[in-house]
Every structure is written in C-alpha cells, then in structure tokens.
Chain length 302, copies 2
C-alpha cells in the first residue's frame, strides 16, 4: 500500500527541484524583445506540475543516469508542452481565457503575442535541448534524444494529433469513431509522456528494448491521463479544476466519456495504468516513485 | 557589366534545382494528419523564389562544399521562412489574404490550421535539419549549423524581431525611432539571410573569420532587402508585387521610406549592397553569381 502523505511530500519536493531546473533555463526579459520573453516566462511559470520533466528525471535515474545532461531536456519538454497549451488556448482554437486558475497568455498579452510566444517557446525548446550536444561524453545519445523530441512533437506526433482534433471539432455534432479518437489521444497527449520516459532512458544508457518498453509505458500512461481528463471534465468543479468544466459537452466534443460512459472510461484508466505499472516492474532499477506517480496521475482529482 | 539575360537564366536554373531539393524533403500527405501536411505543402510550394536556400548553396560551394549534407539545411531554412510568413499573415497579425498572388494558408485552410501548420513547419525544419547529423563526416559542423539555425530563428533573432514589430504596430500613429526600426529589420529580416550564408560557410569548411564575414554580408544584404521592400510598397503595383501595396501606409507603419524618403532609402540600399559585394570580394572561392544575386535582390522590382 502506498502511503499517500509520504508520496505527496516526495512529489512536492520533486516538483520544486524540476521547477528550479526549468527556471534556470528560461531567458531573461531584457532588450527590445523583453515583451515576448515576459510572455514566454508568464506561461512557463504559471504553476504547472512539471509532470513531464519529473517523468524524464525518474526514467533517467532508473537507468543509472546521474549527470546534468538531462536538465536541458527537462526544460525543453516543458517548453514544448507549454507551447501547445498557449496555442490551444488561442481564440481560433479553444478560445480559453483561464488555465490553472490564471488568465491564459493571449488573454494577458494579446492574440498576436500569444501566437508568437508559442512559436518562441517551441524554438527555444530546441535551442535549449541543443545545449546537451555539448556534453561531450553523450553526443550520440543526445542526438538520439533530440530526434525523439522533434519527431514526436511534430506532424507524426503532438502537432499532428492536435491538427486532427481541431479539424474534427468543426464538424459540430458529428461523433468521432474510436479509431479517430484514439489517434488524437495517442498523438496529442500520449506522445508528450512517451518523450520524457524515452529520453530519460536514452540518456540513462538504456538498450533498445528498454527504450521501446518505456515508450509503451508512456503510451499507456498518456492514454489513461487523457481519459481521466475527460472524466474530470464531467465530474469535477471549476474550483477543483482551475479551468472551465463541461467544456467538452459545450463544444460537442467526442470523448471517452461520451463514447463509453464514465464508468467504463474509469475502467479503462485503471487497466491501462495497471498495464503500465506491470511493464515498469519488468525493468531494472529503482522505480517505486515512478509507479506511484502513474497511479497518482490516473486517479488524480484535478 | 552583368549580362542580365545570362544571370536570369542561371537564376531560373538554380531556383529549379533548389525547388527540387526542397520538395524532396516535404512530408507526404497521408493518414489522419493529411490535412495539416497539405496545408504545410500548400505554403511550401506557393512559388517562393528559394532565395535563402540558393544563398546557402552558393556559400557552401564557394567554400568548397560539394556534398548533400547541405540539402536538409536548404529545406529547413525555407521551412522556417515559410512558417514566419504563414504566422505573419494570420488575422491577429497582418491579416493578409493574398501572398505571391495566391490565397494565404489561413485563407484556404482556416485560422486554426494556419496556426498549427506554422507550428508544424517550424518543428519540421528541425526534424529535417537533424538528418544532417547522420552524415558522419560532418557531425561537429552540422551541430554548429543547427545551433546557428536555432539561435537566429528564436527570440534573439527572427521571432524576437517579429515580436517587436507586432508590439509597435499597435501604437497606431506613433513613429518608431531608427534604432528600434533597425532592431526589427536586423532581427526579423536580416537574420534569415545571415543564416544561409553562415551555414553554407560552416558546412563548407570555412574558418571562424570567414564565417563571421559571411554573417556581416548577410546583415547588409538583409537590411538592403528589407529597405527595398519598403520602397516597392510605395512604388510598385499590385500586379507586379502579387500582394497588397501601400499596406505599410494603411497600417501607419514606420519604414525606411517614411523615415528617410524614397530617394535616401534607395541610396541606403545601394551603399549596403556595395559594402556586401566588397566584403564578399575579399573572400576566396568562386562568387560571381553570389555577388550578382546581391545586386539583383537589391534592385528587384517585386
């Protein structure tokens, strides 16, 4: 049995550490371009839980990694995640004014700066990740990590999934079939959990099979994470969630809940998470916290 | 004296070759994400003159480069340039419906897809450039080239310049001072000419001083290019230009023409271009076409 108080304490400490690392990679707002740097940093310090950088760090440690080469990648994945949120929130896409209980970037800095600060963060993620190429011991593995980052962020990953999501939202009351919904979830959400688990493994010195296993774990945890998001959208309150609830219903969005109902959707979250923990157990290294984190993400209340 | 007919013939042939290379790096529209790939390719095949990839190739050859490692970078710089145009044209920024005589990307595919296809192209530029890291002879120089690409694209380059431009457009009738205008032109426009000249030099095996000289040349040619753009906006016709004319005036935009007048602005184009050609002449290698291209860009009519 997990001691929840102990786990939460550990998690808070890990969030604090990841946050510190991420902040150390943020650009300083100065010079003529001060405003866009402020907009980037506004969104990067909006109280995110740093889940993806923590997953990366845990995976890295699990495979024996103990150097700072992981740090630029921890910052980079959070920049890419944040970039996707900024652009998702834009008026032309989700038109969201609040996230994590704060005004969204475009709501504060205007739509043009919302677009550009997202571009800036995406680009800065690569500038940051490239710093890892100068840790001479690890050049080959850093290149491999960069490639995973780029491929799973682009049209064959996150941005591809997001584009299909946006394209199908327009067809107001059309219900998506499960194949299409899975495509969106796997690409839009799950890739962003596969990336950190895989990069941690690559830089930690894992073998091909282990890296592939971490990818599969990321897929399962990511899918569970998104389905839980669907569930929270209908079962949570705006105070708990810090953002609009029933937004999926209002947007006529097909979700796992609309396709399967809350109960069956919850069962999926549970079985995907169990599978992920089971796969994790087959790997070497210290992974107690990581498996607890998977459970925590699956059964989170916000 | 330059034989203009000969030069134009050579240029057309070089455009054809660059275009062929660029197209070979475009993703194939298939699968669920077909739409966003179509939107990317729509803008990437909209009849751009491939100036930046050609500059890169010429610089590469001038320093003795003769391998295909340059090709992914030629495609990547054109993707980044195109990304910046797609996002510039969005309703929240320039709200342009036509470019190069064709409808802009958001005008055809919608605003959300305009945002996402720009994101996709920016990301795909890095995916593409990374292919050069697997040309084993050149890994170190490929990394250096990637770094130039990323740094000069981001907040300390193109995106930074664009953000300051956007920020100052809002102050309707305020006239910018020359320092601020130079900052915008140097970052928004000149960086995108510095990048190809520098990357060509880096991959071609140039030394530090030569790379720095190519950067300076790019700065001058880029500044001249943008000032000529200002001049064409007030002296050209919509048929010649393929896009809206007098757009700067309608947007109360400060330009070199509004600050200095057409005549003095033309003089600047001339002297910057002369300086660039002079710097180029001090470098080794075959550069006749490149210096003609600088003149052609400076005195272009559209």
């Amino acid at each position: 049995m997990v001691n929840l108080v102990d786990f939460e304490k550990k998690l808070q400490e890990k969030i604090r550490k990841a946050d510190e690392i991420i902040r150390s990679y943020l650009p300083e707002p100065k010079g003529f371009s001060r405003k866009i740097i402020e907009a980037m940093n506004y969104s990067m310090t909006a109280g995110g839980k740093r889940i993806r950088p923590i997953l990366m760090f845990e995976s890295y440690q699990m495979f024996g990694g103990n150097k700072s080469v992981i740090e630029p990648f921890m910052a980079a994945i959070e920049m890419i995640h944040t970039q996707s949120l900024i652009h998702d929130d834009l008026p032309a896409i989700d038109n969201a004014l609040y996230r994590r209980g704060r005004k969204t970037t475009h709501a504060v800095y205007g739509e043009a700066m919302g677009i550009l600060s997202g571009d800036a963060l995406l680009n800065y993620a690569y500038e940051t990740a490239m710093q890892a190429l100068f840790y001479l011991d690890d050049t080959d593995r850093s290149i491999q990590a960069m490639q995973i980052l780029a491929e799973k962020t682009g049209i064959y990953g996150m941005i591809g999934g997001q584009s299909v999501d946006v394209e199908n939202e327009k067809n107001d009351k059309q219900v998506l079939d499960k194949e299409l919904l899975d495509y969106i979830y796997l690409n839009k959400t799950a890739t962003l959990l596969e990336i950190p688990l895989m990069i941690g493994a690559v830089l930690g010195g894992a073998g091909k099979k282990e890296i592939s296993c971490m990818e599969q774990i990321g897929t399962k945890v990511g899918l569970a994470f998104q389905i839980q998001d669907d569930i929270l959208d209908v079962t949570s309150t705006i105070e708990e969630l810090g953002k609009t609830i029933f937004s999926d219903e209002q947007n006529y969005k097909t979700t796992y809940v609309t396709l399967l109902g809350t109960k069956e959707a919850s069962r999926r979250v549970e079985s995907l998470t169990k599978d992920a923990v089971h796969l994790l157990e087959m790997l070497p290294g210290e992974k107690e916290f990581l498996s607890q984190l998977f459970l925590y993400l699956a059964f989170r209340k916000k």
